[in-house]
Amino acid sequence: MELLIVQTPMKDRINALIIKTPEGVEFSLRLAGPITRFLAWSIDLATLMAVMSIINVVFAILGILSRDLAAAANIIGFFVISIGYGILLEWYWQGQTVGKKLLRLRVLDAQGLRLRFSQVVIRNLLRFVDSLPALYLIGGLVCLLNQRAQRLGDVAANTIVTWNPRIAEPDLNQLLEGKYNSFHEYPHLEARLRHYVRPSEAQIAVQSIMRRDALDPQARIALFRELRAYFENLVTFPQEATDGISDERYVRNVVGAVFRPKTSGGDSAKTTSVH
């Protein structure tokens, strides 16, 4: 049984790690860059300072009983919290801290396997080297140069940090509302179109329609002509569905077919999301 890990080439780097399972299924993990990670670390630092200031108040009260014990508890408390914060949270929240949660980052095993406690400990202990000489300069540089955007701690622990961006579905309500879509008369061809059009291509079509007013007239005509030719090549609709419609109308129909297929229950169906 072989696990294939495919790294996107550096020249068109999109920082995604694609894991192919032996079952032939691919899933991609979008890697977090050094800037996002630095921001998450800043949030964690602020959280740590907030926690410490609360604990300081508790220790100050302890100081009424014994100043020596309070000072000792303060030192140990700060040490344990600063080291244990990342370890405990990443372990109990499965690879996330407060900062990572807010920025939708997650630590994962580099081969897609279960994250182990030892991996969490090692990547957190190696912050001592990554943070040198100041502000994670070494870690940031290694992260920039590393193909998997790993800092030294990640290399040693065999982990990666992924970013799960919130995917916003295009707001097509206004764009497609009230317009007749001749493609809806051919649900089987729409299904084929949905199957063949890749997500990135669909996004190009959506963005082209949304930004059409900002385009130069010549460029606008050329762009939609090219898009129509491309989509026509994928699926050919009958002549009565395409006769007399402009290239722009054609692309709009494609977007409607991909995102708003006609169903038996109504003109258009809302896409279903699972959370």
């Binding site: 399972t21 299924v25 279960r114 080297v129 040693a156 279903t272």
Partner: protein, 334 residues
Amino acid sequence: MIIDLQKFITEERLYWTELEQVLNRLERKPDEKLRLGALERFHYLYQRTSADLAKISTFSAEPNTRQYLESLVGRAFGEIHETREKPHRLRPLHWFFNTFPQTFRKHFRAFAISLLALLVGAAFGGFTIIVDSSTKQILMPFSHLQGDPSERVKTEESTDSDRLKGAKSYFSSYLMTHNTKVAIFTLALGMTWGIGTLIMLFYNGVILGAVAVDYVLAGESAFLLGWLLPHGAIEIPAILLAGQAGIVLAGALIGWGQPIALRTRLRKISNDLVTLICGVALMLIWAGIIEAFFSQYHEPVVPYSFKIAFGCVELLILALFLGRAGCRKIGESA
């Protein structure tokens, strides 16, 4: 090809939810073992969801569903293809009396390298002091060590007041945390192919050797042993073990004579590194307590002979513990 997307999602969602529930349970209770029937069902759900992901992956209109399925398949993939032993329930006593000394012995060669680096540093430090005692100012970073040893001994032995009164806990916790940071740093420097770790060990050896020779030359050997042995008998081996962990890490990075991939090498040692550094932390807690509450008291408060004997007993127990604890008896299965 999916013709009716909504129908597809409605029908398949039941299986996705079931898989998610199984995954949640397995992640919540990592030591739970599934029965054969449940395992078969789990595998079926994984395969079905994988197939659904393959079908839906071309759907531009379903980015959230695709992301959800990717996350499910990813988690299930991790559970099914994980070949490493599942983490056991926490057994601190078993870990301390078995795993820790066994791990130390498993990487004894790395410990020997660590010890050698410290000894070379100590020899260098000692030799430098013999040749030119004025280098003390450079070699010893602590001001109380830069003066005349005999003067210090005289002051320490004549003082009536307890200079650490009301600050022992503070001093002890400072020592524990500072030394643990140094130990973690020594381990972490293993990522420099071990060069940083060796430099740290050498540097600590230089200070130790310089101090030792300085006190011996001044005829204060009894004070030196009485002062250093009670906590040093644990503290110095702890730093050596941290160095051992750093060298183990460096060994995995370099991979001499190991025809396996870097990731596999690092994966193999990850548990050992954590075991070693946790053991080091425990040792340093003990050393911190002893240094603050015992080592700083000299004759006539505590006789040097008692302090030296205490240190020797500690060292002996530590050597026996690391050398013998957790050894399997003859005939016991491996």
